[in-house]
């Protein structure tokens, strides 16, 4: 059910490499509150939603999250491009490099690999949507933490965009959770 357009949702143009912050930002790729976890969570939960509109919210936001982890990967890729062995050793990036060279692999900043224990798909509308609201807040907090640690404007710009998306997603999951959402047939006032 997927097509894609050959462009990032929001541009990523990093002019200065920085393997230290790449190690932190990778958490939004493979970490517990990252974009890949978000996408897998929503795309897994949608099958058992009793309302079409809620399945729609989960599919549409789950799809957007795919575009988001792609942006995170682009950030990490550009931050680690053409690094010298000295740069790799100095920054502590050597621990990742030995196993992955400069390739992208989904793990948290602390090293835990991405795994399905990082999300739940419980099969109850209220439970799943509440999990999703929590997920968006956790992602937003992770972006807050990244913004506290990173000052490079080339990096902060797409990060701020991604953070803003979490707040909108929280609102939409909250609306989906209102039981009258899919049944409301009100015309505009």
């Amino acid at each position: 059910m997927w097509n894609y357009e050959k462009r990032l949702q929001y541009p990523v143009k990093i002019t200065q490499t920085n393997p230290q912050i790449a190690q932190v930002i990778i958490s939004q790729y493979g970490g517990p509150d990252g974009e890949l976890a978000a996408s897998m969570r929503y795309l897994a939960q949608r099958y058992t939603m009793p309302y079409n509109t809620v399945a729609g919210v989960l599919t549409d936001i789950g799809t957007e999250e795919l575009a988001h982890f792609e942006m995170i990967c682009a950030i990490v890729y550009q931050l680690t491009r053409n690094l010298t062995p000295e740069e790799i050793k100095e920054s502590g990036f050597d621990k990742y490099y030995v196993d992955h060279t400069l390739a992208l692999w989904p793990q948290a900043a602390g090293g835990i690999p991405f795994n399905a224990c990082e999300f739940q798909s419980k099969g109850d509308v209220i439970t799943d949507l509440t999990e999703d609201m929590a997920a968006e807040q956790k992602a937003r907090t992770t972006y807050d933490n990244i913004l506290r640690l990173v000052k490079d404007p080339d990096v902060c710009d797409p990060i701020r965009f991604l953070r803003a998306r979490e707040i909108v997603h929280f609102q939409r999951f909250g609306e989906a959770n209102r039981k009258d959402c899919s049944k409301s047939k009100h015309k505009n006032h």
């Binding site: 710009d157 803003a164 998306r165 909108v168 929280f170 609306e175 209102r178 009100h186 505009n188």
Partner: protein, 57 residues
């Protein structure tokens, strides 16, 4: 000004032990698409930027 009124939800009961997020109040859109894109939302109402150590609502 780009704006329209959202659907008005009918008056409802609020049973306990449930979580409620308020419906979006307005559908005012940013006039300037550049600003919307950079902000990360087309709705100013949903813009809650990171301001430093703690987020203000």
């Amino acid at each position: 000004m780009q704006e329209w009124k959202p659907q008005m939800p009918y008056v409802e009961q609020f049973p306990v032990a449930m979580a409620y997020v308020p419906w979006q109040r307005t559908c005012t859109m940013y006039e300037n698409l550049d600003e919307a894109f950079k902000t990360g939302t087309i709705f100013p109402e949903l813009n809650k930027p990171f301001l430093g150590r703690r987020v203000k609502g």
